[in-house]
């Protein structure tokens, strides 16, 4: 199949050059080659689940772009179940409509490694997004979680200030996910440089808001003079913020978290003071990076698995002070836009 496709492409290209080129010699060959290389290519996104802001944001931007150049964009929704995700990837690779590019949001470092290898063997480019995995994918696009942790710690230190108790609490995700582990490492790197700051507690939320609230409540009871809490994800930081509110420590505890820069999840909460700082991933730019690398890979002609590119998204800790109207993207607006079509 592949040979025939390449041959056809070459033949068409030849025909184009042979018959058309002389007349329009001044024409730019770029668009034709671009369209030729990309047309009908399939791109599939397999996130952890489709039900949260990041995945929906990626899907939106990718879909727009891929359909723009005449490709087919699909998503698979394993709904946080690793086995279902693995099966979705397996099915995709072995199906008649094998995707040319597979964008995978890995749940942990290892689970999908073997499948990604298989995908590459079958000729599918694999792009990892957001979560690193123990696998040399064709490209990794996402956050440097270590750097992200450092930014969080710096924001927390700044938020506490020099005259505070210098006690920091962490609400980790879990002890298995790379995003959680690397974030912790990054935070610790910064805190090592500031020995006067110390971590008084570091419970896990298991990415669940209720648990986050409960552990934060206990943490605040034990250490009412805590000056900053770093919760590892805005998905459960609402719990930590509820605990702070309950303890009547609003404004006294500086809550730092990370997020995808969605308006309702991050900017609104910065605005109303729920969060002191959010280290936001610029989702539009991240999606743009993905789009670029997809287009590059599909035109490169190189076999899957030969390049190992890392594209880290620029991260920035945003506080209420530097909140701008375009700091966030608005999921509701995107959905309205999609619905309007």
């Amino acid at each position: 199949m592949k040979f025939i496709r390449t041959f056809m492409a070459a033949a068409t290209a030849l025909a184009v050059t042979a018959f058309v080129a002389p007349t329009f010699a001044a024409d730019d060959p770029g668009p034709a080659a671009y369209a030729q290389a990309l047309k009908g290519k399939r791109v599939m996104l397999v996130p952890l689940a489709m039900g949260f802001d990041l995945a929906q944001g990626w899907a939106h931007f990718l879909k727009k772009e891929v359909e723009g150049w005449g490709g087919v964009f699909e998503t698979r929704d394993p709904n946080w179940v690793v086995d279902a995700g693995a099966q979705a990837i397996t099915d995709a690779i072995s199906s008649d409509t094998r995707p040319d590019v597979l964008i995978i949001h890995a749940p942990d470092l290892n689970s999908y490694s073997k499948l990604m290898k298989k995908a590459q063997a079958a000729g599918t480019y694999v792009i990892l997004v957001d979560n690193p995995a123990n696998f040399p994918a064709d490209a990794f696009v996402g956050s440097d979680w270590d750097r992200l942790g450092q930014l969080e710690a710096e924001a927390a230190i700044k938020g506490c200030g020099e005259n505070s108790s210098k006690k920091i609490g962490l609400v980790q995700g879990d002890q298995a996910n790379s995003s959680s582990l690397y974030q912790y490492a990054g935070i610790m790197k910064v805190l090592d440089k500031h020995p006067d700051f110390k971590v008084v507690a570091k419970p896990d939320s298991n990415w669940d808001a209720t648990t986050s609230r409960n552990v934060t409540t206990t943490m605040l009871q034990q250490n009412p003079d805590i000056c900053s809490i770093i919760d590892f994800w805005d998905g459960d930081a609402t719990g930590a913020s509820a605990a702070i509110r309950d303890a009547k420590l609003d404004g006294k505890v500086f809550l730092v978290t990370t997020g995808g820069g969605e308006k309702a999840a991050d900017c609104d909460k910065l605005q109303d003071g729920t969060y002191g700082a959010v280290v936001m991933t610029d989702l539009a730019r991240q999606s743009g990076d993905m789009n670029a690398i997809i287009k590059f890979l599909l035109q490169s002609g190189q076999p899957a698995g030969t390049s190992h590119t890392y594209i880290y998204t620029l991260e920035k800790a945003t506080t209420k002070a530097d909140l701008k109207p375009d700091s966030c993207w608005d999921l509701k607006a995107l959905q309205a836009e999609a619905a309007a079509k």
Binding site: G51, T217, Q221
Partner: protein
Amino acid sequence: MSTIGWPSFRSLNQEGIVFAIAVVLFVSAAIGLPGFIDANNLVSIVRSVSVLGILALGMAVVVIGRGIDLSAVAIMAMSVAWYLQLLNTGTPDGLAFAYVLAGVLAIGMLNGFLVAYADVPAIFVTLATGSFVFGYVRSQLITQDAVPVPQGHWVELLGGLRFLDIPIEVFVFAGLAFLFLLFLRYTKWGRYIYFAGDNPVAARNIGIPVRPMLVLRYVLSAFVALVAGLLTAASLHSINTRVVNSTLLYDIVLVAVIGGIGLSGGRGGVRNVLVGAALIGILLNAMTIIDIPLLYQNLIKAAILLGAIIVDGIINPRDEQTAQQGDI
């Protein structure tokens, strides 16, 4: 259920064992952990288990009637998520609440109808409806895993409500526990639940409306789940539907059952739920204070629960001749 008051240690049953463990834990935490005995912390212990406890109360009523409600968590999360979604898309509050209330009661009735009139085992019915409720609401009615409470809505204000510095959930839990106690112990229909749970056929033969009451129990459980969901949303300002896939459901069953309510029905009461909730609450709080990672907390929790049921199994062995068929 024959005596009122705390269990005596001479007749050590599962409830007694769990209660003893809870007391031992409480005393050692009070001595060993700074800040544990603090009034605020005690309130927060109760608060941390109040939603769990409320759900367990609903579960208890169903279990006493020889049933089980595995759809409780789905109803709790999805009803409130739908409610909030309706509000966020501009549906008037009263209408939205009416929709949701109708939906919740309908699911409760569906559960009850299938169990009572179609004779389908409760575990399957509620497993199915739970899955359906989650799936339907998630795929058809809401767009995201988490739905926020609109700014300034009464649910948000409810979360901030305090009386004597004690959060509202604690009062709701206490109030519901008291109501359930009155219902189960002092009303005719409450006593009927025990009869129906103990021996449904005999209960039916003496003229108790066993089937309509079964429907009532599931409706009650669904309604209690809605209350628990509203309280969760109130305190977190949002509801995350992922909670349906978490172990919360197992925790509810555990709280209800570990305190001594038999899954075979007819035994137990509100007291057992309180004992179960106390054990879980004290355990989790103490472990969080010691800063034990969540993973180890689960391990320790499971080990203690396992110990409790093993001790019960040894002290009160079950008899081959009197065990009920199909009692798992």
